[in-house]
């Protein structure tokens, strides 16, 4: 392989990863603040009320991006876990470890905002609708993944176990989701924005939502980079301490 060729695997070097993260985090922070301010202010103050739902519709500017992240962070964790199992890059494993609490928070935010919206519109905080059930299932698998890290000390064996748990969890989460979907299709409306459909929600709501999605996504990236950097430093400190103790 050409020594000068640049590839994504360069980031597998913890030192290189930290230096790139150091460089990129300030820009991402500014970008996040800009996007979220524009998106949320525009969405909350400068869009008309919905003709049926009134002002409560504005909660979608938090609900939709966090739901989008909650699902996609788990997918990201599966991908990084598989990369860890195949290529044994510690950064990949540490990224999965760092992403899990963010995903858990996003799941909780989704459930909470959904409950606040559901009370006036559906008349209930919680219903056993398939989509809501999927989020309850997601919550359980996030808790499972985090608990295996919190009970055991960091080493390669625990890394393997947590990666396997993440992959097994995804299989059973999907199975559970379709088991629940088998009997009823539920109360929750379908997706109102997608790339392949003719009719999306109207542009008045669509543009600020796009800003919010972008803002939440870069918020996730920022926190993920900071947390992964911290995990790398913790790991380095621990190995330094161990070598010092052995001497």
């Amino acid at each position: 392989m050409n020594k000068n060729s640049r590839s994504i695997w360069e980031l597998a070097n913890p030192k290189r990863f930290v230096s790139i993260a150091n460089w990129i985090v300030p820009f991402l922070t500014i970008f996040t603040i800009l996007c979220m301010t524009i998106g949320i202010f525009w969405g909350v103050f400068f869009t008309p009320d919905d003709y049926r739902q009134g002002s409560s519709v504005k909660i979608i500017y938090i609900h939709v991006p966090s739901a989008f992240l909650a699902v996609n962070i788990y997918i990201m964790m599966i991908v990084t876990s598989i990369i860890w199992l195949i290529r044994r890059h510690h950064v990949s494993l540490l990224a999965a470890k760092a992403a899990a609490p963010i995903g858990l928070t996003m799941t909780l935010v989704t459930i909470l905002t959904g409950a606040i919206w559901g009370k006036p519109i559906w008349g209930t905080y919680w219903a056993w609708d398939p989509r809501l059930t999927s989020f309850a299932i997601l919550l359980m698998f996030y808790i499972g993944y985090i608990s295996i890290w919190s009970t055991m000390e960091y080493n390669e064996k625990v890394g393997d176990l947590s990666a396997l748990i993440c992959i097994i969890g995804s299989i059973f989460a999907l199975l559970s989701r379709y088991a629940v979907l088998f009997w009823d299709q539920g109360l929750h409306q379908g997706a109102s924005m997608s790339l392949d459909k003719e009719e999306n929600i109207s542009n008045v709501f669509y543009l600020p939502l796009l800003f919010c999605l972008l803002g939440f996504f870069s918020l996730f990236l920022t926190i993920l980079l900071i947390r992964t950097r911290t995990e790398i430093r913790i790991r380095r400190t621990n190995s330094l301490m161990r070598t010092k103790l052995e001497k």
Binding site: T151, I165, A179, V180
Partner: protein, 220 residues
């Protein structure tokens, strides 16, 4: 050939089988009796709750007795010996799971028609529930081996085990509970019945592979 049979026979003998059988069955009986005494305060029979309690307590007592599968083998070195033996680890895991099913799930399934009386489920539907449990519970035993392998070498990790494994029982529990409820209301949904069977068979097919992967992680 003779050695293989000997190894397989050895894999099926659990040192603490009798104690575990007694404990898991007692746990099942105690949970159901406590719950039905609590429910009797309603004054009306609530089939939805009783069926759920039946399945959840079955899953919990199968899960909590999972330590017998690998724990002693891991501690006295038998598991190392299994890994060195000419028999593949997967087939040993299949045998272990089947033995676990016979020791913990089968007694509970046999007790189910009797325990349906305090729960207020009629005898005819309890026989149907028994059949559904025979179809569904092998999956519970097989999935439990994943948990047993995960918490290998860590005594007293029952809580972690429940957190990790109980959510994976969901497909089986959802279908088992729903079909049992339908049967109580005299609706026989054969499609759902076969899907439960399919879930069970899928679990039997894939979990030995996953479990052997996890056990190998402990030995690298």
């Amino acid at each position: 050939m003779k050695t293989s049979i000997h190894i397989l026979k050895y894999a099926m003998s659990f040192s603490s089988a009798g104690r575990s059988l007694f404990l898991s069955t007692s746990f099942f009986i105690i949970v159901i009796l406590t719950a039905s005494i609590g429910m009797s305060q309603f004054g009306v029979s609530t089939n939805k709750i009783s069926v759920t309690i039946l399945w959840i307590s079955l899953a919990l007592s199968a899960l909590l007795s999972v330590e017998i599968i690998f724990q002693t083998d891991y501690e006295d070195g038998t598991l190392d010996w299994f890994m060195l033996s000419p028999i593949s680890l997967e087939s040993i895991i299949v045998l272990k799971a089947l033995t676990h099913w016979v020791i913990t799930c089968l007694p509970m399934i046999i007790l189910t028609p009797i325990l349906c009386i305090p729960l207020g489920i009629s005898f005819e539907s309890s026989m149907w529930i028994l059949l559904i449990m025979i179809i569904g519970t092998p999956a519970i035993s097989f999935i439990s081996t994943i948990g047993a392998a995960l918490t290998l070498g860590e005594r007293g990790s029952n809580l972690l085990l429940s957190i990790l494994i109980l959510p994976t029982f969901l497909p089986i529990l959802v279908f088992g509970i729903k079909i049992s409820l339908l049967v109580i209301n005299s609706i026989y949904d054969y499609v759902a019945f076969f899907i439960l069977l399919a879930f069970s068979l899928v679990c039997i097919a894939i979990t030995p592979l996953i479990t052997s992967m996890i056990i190998k992680v402990h030995y690298t």
